[in-house]
Amino acid sequence: MVKITVDMDKCQHYGQCCFEAEDVFALDESGKLVYSKEADESRRADVESAADVCPMQAITVE
């Protein structure tokens, strides 16, 4: 399992992560980030890409 943490103090809801792994990250109707705390191992590369493209560098992947 891939473990995902987003530092919500840093997150500015730019939603760049959503384009890399849309099954894991999404913006809700009010524009706030929602995400799954776990993803299947097969999703690791995309989840890591999502962490890479976060402008605020708020995403940690374990």
Partner: protein
């Protein structure tokens, strides 16, 4: 055992190393950087880090485990390169051999030769710059910002929040007019003016007065402005001087092909980030340099496999390069988010909301939609981004 040397320890340099590793390159990598720090995030330097205090450690990028064995030579400017001999020369005279070279040395702020004292004139690119500027941003300080691009406007917003008095002097007719267009540029000016920023548009600074430290600035219209410091954000120059003498196209940054390879018979070589002038199949065949934060990562994703193939004696994948330029900007409570290249548009349309509030603006040229900007409407941009991707 082969060795890749990466020149520039910024975002592009780091991502290039990671991309080489994920492309299967497992030999040596040396990253040489002139700054004293491991790669860190620059955008906060004009925004929250400048407002709150510049803590470099908290800005450092997380590095993937795959680059744990990379050798870092920090505080070490590269001053020359002999592609035929496959060496780079460090300040101090030492040289480093390489089998493959990654150019990731980025850009630096352009400085204008203006008569008067040099003290108190700053530019903002590095953490060291931000630390120096931060000291002066105290309540009541008189700040002059030269240039009304993103960095100038973000610094203006930050300085206002910190209680400074802020004047922006720029030749453009509106702030950020090239990337945003007239209508949104004017709306952003009104937002800044409502917070107290004073603009002197269509003008420039012709001289500074003061002994060693700037005390005031004279504008081209005769206005005299008091200044405790001046922050100059008037464009950039690519850091490519160290590559001179190798018969490369250094006319505006470093020219690459669609797989980020630099055309030279002398050595396997790629370029990434702000200085790479590369084609992008989404926007025709004209190679462009794009100074957006997402580009170092996108170009490195392509450059890593290219260099790994070249070093393995294989032909790299030369299919078209497709990367969606994306930028964001934070000014006061306003968040701008852009996709595509609004700067090349000749027509805009506000499709939702009004430019003085939250809105979405579409940008067109003869080929159709070329860009979209959301003002406080980030969550609604996905369909536009998809339409832009469909251009390829």
């Amino acid at each position: 055992m082969q060795r890749v040397v990466i020149v520039g320890a910024g975002l592009g340099g780091l991502r290039a190393a990671e991309s080489l590793r994920s492309a299967g390159y497992s030999d040596a990598i040396t990253i040489v950087g002139d700054e004293a720090y491991l790669p860190y995030n620059r955008p906060p330097l004009s925004k929250e880090a400048l407002a709150g205090g510049v803590d470099i450690e908290s800005l450092e990028f997380r590095r993937k485990a795959s680059v744990d064995d990379v050798e870092w030579l920090l505080g070490s400017p590269v001053v020359g390169c002999d592609l035929a001999a496959r060496t780079v020369t460090l300040d101090g005279g030492a040289s480093l051999d390489f089998d493959g070279l990654v150019v990731a040395s980025g850009i630096r702020p352009r400085r204008l030769p203006i008569p008067g004292p040099a003290g108190g004139r700053f530019a903002l690119r590095t953490a060291a710059d931000a630390l120096a500027v931060r000291e002066y941003l105290i309540p009541g300080a008189a700040i002059i910002i030269m240039g009304a691009g993103f960095i100038g406007c973000e610094v203006a917003a930050t300085a206002i929040k910190l209680g400074c008095s802020v004047h922006v002097v720029a030749l453009d007719e509106e702030p950020m007019v090239r990337p945003l267009g007239q209508e949104l540029g004017a709306a952003m000016r009104r937002r800044h003016e409502a917070r107290g920023v004073r603009f002197h548009l269509g003008h420039t600074i012709v001289a500074f007065t003061g002994d060693e430290h700037v005390r005031s600035a004279s504008l081209s219209d005769g206005t005299e402005l008091k200044a405790d410091i001046v922050i100059e954000a008037v464009g950039s120059v690519a850091n490519t001087e160290w590559l001179n003498g190798n018969n490369l196209n250094l006319s505006d940054g470093l020219l690459t092909d669609s797989c980020m390879q630099v055309e030279t018979p002398l050595a396997p070589m790629v370029a990434v980030g702000d200085l790479a002038r590369h084609p992008n199949a989404l926007f025709g065949s004209v190679p462009r340099r794009i100074e957006h934060w997402n580009i170092p990562t996108e170009t490195a994703r392509r450059a890593g496999p290219t260099l790994a193939s070249l070093l393995a004696g294989e032909e790299p994948d030369r299919s078209p390069f497709i990367a969606m330029p994306a930028f964001w900007s934070d000014q006061y409570e306003t968040k701008l988010q852009s996709f595509g290249m609004p700067g090349i548009a000749d027509r805009t349309e506000v499709t939702s909301g009004s430019v003085d509030g939250a809105c979405i603006i579409e940008y067109f040229d003869a080929t159709g939609l070329v860009g979209v900007i959301g003002v406080d409407r980030t969550a609604e941009l996905a369909p536009y981004r998809k339409a832009l991707l469909a251009r390829s």
